[in-house]
């Protein structure tokens, strides 16, 4: 399957499934060919598009481009890997997907990032609400230093007003179980989050992100500070998580992209060069630059 950004927009119009249309991926998209917000589900080659960018451009200052005119789909309940050399804009792109650039001084985002058919950069869209639906895990594990394991996991719920203990308890257990950390920490939920090992801390951060039940999970090089063993656990976890959530992962490591992802997008100097099924991009990339990067001609 080839899903070049430009072609994709052309096919898109014909692929929108109307009411009553047979839709796959019903659970996550509300069923009956509609997203939970009531907008019609968009499909490309029969696969549901959960997120999509159109001409997404991020500028630092007046002239420096972080990314330029990136248009690509993110498919529902799959793993999309973003690869490319350092400074190619893959993290910039990822952070634009949940409006993480909002706080940056002198950063300008133009174009659209569309979740369930709705542009998250529309003025009436609240960034805080969007971030509850699109979670994020960072390169360095960032447990909240003053909080216990328990408080870390339920921070996203508690700090927006959820007080009911049974709800929190349940959410914490579920999130930690989903993040494959429950068995290791269930007897010491009250100890500080910082007391865990690096790999455990990263899974704690994943649990924390999962606790607010996001629909999309953005991961920015989540294993780059971890040892091979912890990396393997996170990768296994990603495989389990994609049953429920849509995952976009930035990785420096091409082998990792090949191992964990269903789709891979190659970024180079602020542009998205090509996106394809992972298998295809690694075996027969369409673009010469992709070919050169993957074969190690430049990095």
């Amino acid at each position: 399957m080839s899903i070049r950004a430009t072609e994709q927009r052309e096919t898109a119009a014909g692929e929108i499934v109307g009411a009553g249309g047979a839709a796959t991926g019903v659970a996550a998209t509300g069923g009956n060919g509609f997203y939970p917000n009531g907008r019609p589900v968009k499909k490309i080659d029969g696969t549901t598009v959960r997120m999509e960018t159109e001409g997404l451009t991020v500028r630092y200052g007046v002239s420096t481009f972080g990314i330029q005119d990136v248009s690509m789909p993110v498919f529902d309940r799959s793993v999309t890997a973003l690869i490319g050399p350092s400074g190619c804009g893959k993290s910039t792109f990822l952070r634009a997907l949940n409006r993480m650039h909002d706080l940056g001084v002198d950063i300008e985002v133009t174009g659209a990032a569309i979740l369930d058919g709705e542009n998250i950069y529309e003025p009436q869209v609240d960034a805080v609400t969007i971030r509850r639906r699109i979670g994020m895990v960072f390169q360095k594990p960032t447990p909240f230093p003053t909080k216990s394991i328990y408080e870390n996991v339920c921070a996203g719920l508690r700090l927006v007003g959820m007080r009911r203990k049974n709800v929190l308890d349940e959410a914490v257990e579920k999130a930690l179980t989903d993040a494959a950390l429950w068995d290791e920490v269930k007897d010491r939920l009250r100890s500080p989050g910082g007391s865990l090992s690096g790999g455990q801390q990263q899974r704690l951060c994943i649990a924390r992100a999962l606790a607010v039940e996001p629909e999309v999970l953005l991961m920015d090089e989540p294993t780059s500070s971890l040892d091979p063993n912890a990396t393997m656990r996170i990768e296994q976890l990603i495989q389990q998580l994609k049953e429920q959530v849509t995952i976009v992962i930035v990785t420096h490591n091409m082998q990792q992209a090949a191992r964990v992802s269903d789709y891979t997008a190659f970024f180079y100097v602020g542009e998205m060069v090509e996106i394809s099924r992972t298998q295809q991009i690694f075996s027969s990339p369409r673009e010469e630059r992709t070919q050169e990067y993957l074969s190690g001609t430049f990095s």
Partner: protein, 285 residues
């Protein structure tokens, strides 16, 4: 350079550092020693239980003391602290967390200016704001003056400790869909709390030693009072008036008061250190 020469140079530099440090520390010990030697004789039971009264009391050997200055210092300083902490921390947050806000650079300029301003001007300000408008000197006016001394210090230290808390903490909070103000108050501020407390202590100690702002506000009082609406005595200011008085007995009491003021500041820092160490240990575990 030979290995021996490098060792020698290392040793010389170490000696120079020790000497320079000693130069800083020795005067401090001289001051403490001098104050203790001169004041220790004045410290007796009466000193801690009696009010000063008129000079006649001291001259005729009747019981006299500085209990009213000690309680006054504690009351005025604590009230000032309660007033200053919210403003100081809020300004610090504005300067560090809301740098894009137009008030942020203004606040930074103002706090730097206020930090360098003679404290007597804070007294003048409180005089104009409180004393003039309430019709008389009062402990409350003194607290307001000291709060003005404390606010820029608290704001500055809060700003600098917030700035060194990892940026990732904010992003992690925001990425969970936690509103920005809540990220600041519930995640960033607690992570920086040891530094914030240090700033509050520095401000408190600094204000506790100020006499000038109080001359025009809490005014001073020879008698015991806990009424915030009336003049109240404080140690720094009492030291000043005892020192310039013509009575030998009062001079001795002044030295005694200086010991108490020193202890007051030292205990503040000691308790503060303990609190901070506990906070730090909690975070490390």
């Amino acid at each position: 350079m030979t290995l021996k020469a490098r060792y020698a140079r290392d040793a010389i530099i170490q000696i120079v550092m020790v000497l320079l440090t000693a130069l800083v520390v020795i005067p401090l010990f001289i001051i403490i020693g001098y104050v203790v030697i001169n004041g220790i004789s004045a410290l007796n039971m009466d000193f801690f239980t009696q009010e000063l009264g008129s000079p006649a009391r001291a001259m005729r050997g009747r019981p006299t003391g500085l209990v009213h200055s000690i309680t006054g210092t504690i009351v005025i300083d604590l009230v000032a602290l309660v007033m200053a902490v919210p403003f100081g921390i809020a300004t610090g947050i504005m300067m560090s967390e809301y740098q894009e806000h137009p008030l942020s650079p203004v606040a930074r300029l103002m706090t730097s200016t206020l930090n360098g301003m003679p404290a007597v001007l804070m007294g003048l300000l409180a005089y104009g704001l409180v004393v003039k408008n309430t019709g008389g000197f009062s402990a409350l006016a003194g607290s307001v003056a000291l709060a003005f001394v404390m606010i820029p210090i608290i704001a500055r230290t809060t700003e600098s400790v917030l700035r060194v808390t990892p940026w990732g903490l904010r992003e992690a909070g925001l990425s969970l869909g936690i509103p920005r103000w809540k990220v600041t108050t519930s995640l960033v501020l607690p992570a920086a709390r040891a530094g914030v407390v240090t700033g509050i202590l520095i401000a408190f100690a600094r204000a506790a030693g100020e006499a000038a702002p109080l001359l025009l506000t809490s005014f001073g009082n020879n008698y015991f009072s806990l009424d915030m609406t009336r003049p109240m005595d404080t140690l720094p200011q009492r030291l000043y008036s005892l020192a310039i008085s013509p009575y030998k007995q009062w001079h001795a009491m002044g030295w005694g008061g200086a010991i108490i003021l020193l202890l007051f500041v030292m205990i503040t820092f000691l308790v503060g250190r303990l609190v901070i160490r506990r906070m730090e240990r909690q975070m490390e575990q």
